[in-house]
């Protein structure tokens, strides 16, 4: 098992390095630079812009900038964020927990909800409920994330204002609340973005799980369980679900990239101060180090996610473990 993981880790490192190089080149190729916007002022001369470019080493040729960046990276330094005037590592360290919280809640929520919906569908297979839920899950699965998120934002913060309009806390009052109220405030802000991401991801999980359950239901051990007199509910829960969960576990790894990009959209729309919001803002402000740093952290998360899924799969399936 150990050589396998070592090989996977080496592959992951190559992928991350490749992604970092590509993103470095792409963002630097985009027209403009971090100081283009200061030129939108009749009093700002080109010399001011050149001074700023020199301060941040942007006046050097691109290969030299890349070599310097790689050197910093080797020392564990992701560079300096122009737009935050802080180390990129600091910016991402502040944002990452928010993204992980959002993704974590959505991951647990979407798989729990998706499996529950699949169980209901399979228990009532062929019924109107099954057909209706199939339609709903298909709709959620195919719906563009940003569109659904904007709709949810409008619906529940403006037309029916039961949730706050984005952010992770009440910007005005949070610092003046007691501990309990602070936790409540944070939960209130988390609910809508997490719920949106959960509902969107649950559609795919439900469809996948339903198919997996239907696949195991004709198996011999299910027929045996029926002959033993177990109820349909017990058969589904104790026998069918446990076996049908294996492909769903591999789905966790596969859904990680989708969940991460989904979280980026959700963060932008709900102003959730996570990595997605930081990176999207960095792209528009041409904050090169923050963009590349965000991409590196994102690709590490995705490769780690897929690695974790492999471990879970091996843990859950004794055949893989033995192999």
């Amino acid at each position: 098992m150990l050589p396998y993981f070592a090989r996977r880790l080496a592959q992951a490192a190559v992928i991350v390095a490749f992604v970092a190089a590509i993103s470095f080149a792409l963002i630097h190729l985009a027209p403009g630079d971090p100081f283009s916007a200061v030129m939108d002022n009749p009093n700002v001369s080109e010399s001011v812009r050149q001074t700023l470019r020199a301060q941040y080493g942007l006046d050097k040729p691109l290969p030299e900038q890349f070599a310097r960046y790689v050197g910093s990276l080797a020392r564990g330094d992701l560079g300096w964020s122009f737009s935050h005037d802080r180390p990129v590592l600091d910016v991402l360290a502040t944002a990452l927990p928010n993204t992980l919280l959002l993704m974590g809640v959505a991951l647990v929520g979407s798989f729990s909800l998706g499996i529950l919906v699949a169980l209901i569908q399979v228990a009532r297979r062929g019924s109107a409920t099954d057909h209706a839920l199939s339609g709903v899950t298909l709709l959620l699965f195919s719906m563009p994330e940003f569109w659904f998120a904007i709709l949810a934002l409008l619906a529940f913060t403006y037309w029916l204002p039961i949730f706050p309009v984005g952010g992770s806390v009440d910007a005005v009052m949070h610092d003046y609340m007691g501990l309990g109220a602070r936790i409540g405030d944070r939960l209130r802000h988390l609910t809508l973005p997490a719920l949106t991401l959960t509902v969107l991801a649950a559609g795919g999980v439900a469809r996948y799980q339903r198919a997996a359950l239907l696949e195991v239901l004709p198996a011999d051990y299910i027929r045996t369980a029926r002959l033993k007199g177990l109820t349909e509910r017990e058969i589904l829960r104790r026998h069918a679900l446990r076996n049908a969960l294996l492909p769903t576990i591999s789905l966790i790894g596969l859904s990680f990239p989708a969940l991460l990009t989904g979280a980026f959209f959700i963060e932008k729309i709900f102003a959730w101060p996570g990595m997605g919001l930081a990176v999207v803002s960095a792209i528009s402000s041409r904050d090169y180090p923050l963009v590349v740093g965000g991409v590196i952290i994102g690709s590490i998360m995705v490769t780690l996610g897929s690695l974790i899924a492999d471990v879970l799969y091996a843990w859950a399936d004794p055949r893989i473990r033995a192999h």
């Binding site: 080109e46 001011v48 910016v91 910007a171």
Partner: protein
Amino acid sequence: MATMNHVRLLCAVALFAGCVGSESTPGGKPGGTLAISIGGDPDVLIPSLVSTVQAAQMVDLVYDRLADIGDSLNVVGDAGFTPRLADSWTWSPDSLSIAFHINPRAKWHDGQPVRSSDVRFTLQSTRDSTLGTPVAALITNIDSVSTPDSATAVFWFHKRTPQQFYDATYQMPIMPEHIWKGIAPAAWRASEAAKHPIGSGQFRFVRWTPRTAVEVAADSANYRGAPKLARVVWSIAPDFPTALTRFLSGETDFFEVLRPENIPEVMKHPNLRVKTYRSLAYLFAQFNLRDPANHARPHPIFGNRELRRALTMATDRATIVRSVYDTLALPALGPTVRAYPTTDPNIRQIPFDLPRARLILDSLGWRVTRSDGTRSRNGRPLQFTLSVPSTSKVRIRLAVLIQEQLRQAGVKVDIEQLDFRVLVEKERKRAFDAAIGQWNTQPSPGSVRGSWGTPGSHASSGTNYGSYENPVFDAYVDSALASFDPGNARSYFTKAYETIVQDAPAIWLAEPRGIVGYNARVHLAPLRSDAWWAHIPDWWVAAGQNTP
């Protein structure tokens, strides 16, 4: 048409509501929190480095200048200026120096007294080339600051100019030497001191939580007295729509950049109000007078003055402005705004006259020969690209209307929507045909020299992206800026503006009013053209409606 009437009615209601319900009532009770919705973090909280309007609001409340410009925005001499850190000042007989007497009660928010050495330090650091501040270019007439004693800062000038008092005060909020002197100017942006600014204004800095909020609180022991509000919090949204929704949903009290199309939505809320004010912004469709492919050559279309005049003549600016802004803007007069005391609102314009524009184009050899009605000459169609930032709905709408109006004159306009930074980069490199731009100016009309004068037309140094050059215009502007008599200054500026208007390096489009939205619980003071936030210390919240 019905929709337009509806919008017009709502605008009228909004303006009425704004005008009637917004003025301050003297003697508001102190206390209360003002929550302002903004669409982005401040860039930096160091006065000389600020480039965003959000940061300017915060910095202006935390730091003080020696004297503050009056609401009339006079920049000649010291008329209208009110004492701030300096409680008085004395001009030397030859006017080559001004002695500012620091208010003995003035203190920094950390308790240290404000001294004349802080003033000297502010000038020296602002001029440090490693700091990279645009302000340095605006204070070149200041030679030095001497400090005969700790309460007197004497500004010495190279020459006597009408705006020397303005240069010494408006451009430089005073910074505490004891905080900044140990930090190299090149490292200021990244320093911890920049994250926790210490000023001497009526509000002291409390916190900056990136992408969440910036908060300032009343400095109750301030030498100018405590402000009426207890706290001001800027709630930071990542973009305009989220910031607007926070205001509409009641999460915040104030929104500074309402667009005309937002007003009907605001008016659906009985507790929300709209107020407009004269801004210092103007919009224009700028022609590039040099060939983008070879800057040494004139532009194949816009190099011809008569053709540019014909394009202006074919554009019904009044209709365009009414369509986009309703009553919330006026057609621009030229590279200026009506809020300047030196601007004559009757500057002679190129009138809208489509038949005459067609005749001029015919006479220049641009004739309709193509089936789509586009003119051409020697096989070259009369066609150009008009660039606009994709984030500005207003500029996109202006571009579409110009496209349609010029089509009627046989001119084909291709609209190119660009990321804002990409557009600025193209303008900087003079790699564009035409672009819809906007200048947000300062109280001094002098910035016109950089944005439309010869000194600013060279790619390496200036923001005169269209490369318009006319020594007559330059001379009138220089004479106006050198004139001590307001009447003469106005007369020279009028001649300068008429010169450039007749040369038509741009179609002068709109001079929009600033539009803010606010909750009725907040009582505003007058909004100043250059900085609507200037009088926030005088705003107040009605008793019983305070946020704790």
